[in-house]
Subunit: 304 residues, 2 copies
């Protein structure tokens, strides 16, 4: 058993990850800004705003001296994820967290990056760590990329391990409502029209519980450096919408092609997950059909 | 006349730069941590520790709303410049400064990078902006490189100009005593032995007043992006030592070859300054012989 500190622990990925860590018998300390996160066995919650420089974080680190850190927290202004100035603030706050963790004698960090670190303009083949160029086109991608560069150099020098998990696309219970899967599911459930793009673009979707499992496996492995976290399978956005329609019904509500693609949206974004499978030893477990069915059920239950 | 805020304004580059800016008629606000910086006409000093998150910086920005920013401050633990953890802290503090400047309506930033952003292992030709690969090998280089990436992306999005000056090697009055020129000059003046490396490595040395002049020219130009700041001329370290010996005397004190090269020290580090000359319109003015003579005189005066 070791002490592990998790940031963003009540978030979309954070909550299933925290539950999975606690189930493994770790002594889990979970940071969230929320006043009443769900009580969980083996988890102690700490209410800390990581962007507030009051010294609370440093005091917690000195007290706990966690051996391991999972850093998932980032700004949550979803609609402006790509270009929000908060991305800059979160580079600062994340580096401060890294310093406090290393000062406290920490040994291993897992930090969440993003597939937006890659150059999306050349993503015609599966994106692979160490091969595909890292040329982020958004402030979000630049911020995560810069955080990785500094954290990796500092960790290497301090003799601390850094695993950098790079999630692709996600879906599942509790996903912020503005995103693809929840917006389609909820519109269909409420009998509202669904505007979508042509839907030909290929994306790599992973259920959030699978994502949490992969991240826990990465944390528990000795692997350092960048690791793509995805299903390794490309599926078109149109197919995701079709599957949801099959589960919920109401095909007449879908207005396919009524939304324009965002400028610069690539045709294909799929993870090469050889490193996840072979070095970390984790294989994705939840097939898209099953994951979407469970997600639709979860949203149906929210409606009651 | 516009309001310009300078950080590190009492530093080795900062002081001549602040003097030059004030001479141009700008309304100069100078930040320093030092209790008694020299009084200068047209310069108002502000004592602020940029790494302290107390809100003083933000309050100053809101009050002054400077149109322009020159950010030179960085940690000054010279002996540990390359690997000090303070490099991480200065990424955080510099990003906070950039946010505060942009929040305050700032229009143009000049930030000091470093030639250590470049890949030194392939520096057999003059290093050129946009051509030579940026693969820093030290925490200092990684930190400046990451700061540039985030600041550039944020500035572009906010519609603010960023000029990134990339100094090569420097010498001149007030240089921190541990570095090459002051350590040789002072040892010879004090009659102490001088241990040097073989001295074959080529470096690009620029007098600090020339550096300040080049940075002011860059600030006053409309040029954005990366600009090397150097002489464009390679000179061996051995030649620099020989010239100092000619000026001070005491050749018998020099133990050439008694110091090992640092591991990874490249044979050649010289700036391509086409951008500085042609786009900024600045040509280096102080020849090495003259600059070293003035520097030796300055150290001699300190001895009195």
């Amino acid at each position: 058993m070791s002490t592990v500190l998790v940031t963003g622990a009540n978030g979309f990925i954070g909550l299933p990850l925290t539950i999975a860590l606690a189930a493994c018998g770790d002594d889990v300390h979970a940071i969230s800004t929320q006043p009443a996160p769900p009580p969980l066995p083996n988890v102690r919650w700490h209410r800390i705003e990581l962007t507030a420089p009051g010294g609370e974080l440093e005091a917690l680190m000195r007290r706990l001296r966690p051996a391991r850190l999972v850093h998932l927290a980032w700004h949550s202004a979803h609609a402006r994820l790509w270009d929000a100035p908060e991305n800059v603030l979160w580079v600062e706050s994340s580096l401060r967290l890294v310093r406090a963790f290393i000062d406290g004698g920490g040994r291993r960090m897992l930090i969440a990056g993003t597939c937006a670190e890659y150059d999306w303009s050349v993503a015609d083949r599966p994106l692979a760590e160490g091969h595909s160029p890292l040329v982020p086109a958004t402030l979000y991608g630049v911020a995560k990329d810069a955080l990785r560069r500094v954290a990796a150099a500092y960790a290497a020098q301090a003799g601390v391990e850094l695993a950098w998990g790079r999630p692709f696309f996600l879906y599942g219970p509790r996903e912020p409502p503005g995103r693809l899967v929840p917006s389609v599911v909820r519109s269909l459930l409420h009998g509202e029209p669904v505007a979508t793009s042509g839907g030909e673009q290929l994306r790599d979707f992973m259920h959030v519980d699978d994502m949490a499992g992969a991240l826990v496996a990465l944390l528990d492995s000795p692997v350092v450096g960048d690791v793509n976290i995805g299903s390794g399978v490309g599926v078109t956005v149109g197919e995701v919408v079709d599957r949801i329609v099959q589960l919920v019904g109401r095909p007449e509500l879908v207005r396919r092609g009524s939304l324009a693609m965002r400028p610069g949206e690539p045709h294909r974004l799929v993870a090469d997950i050889a490193r996840l499978r072979e070095e970390v030893g984790y294989s994705p477990r939840i097939a898209l059909a099953d994951g979407l069915a469970a997600t639709v059920k979860w949203w149906e239950a929210q409606r009651d």
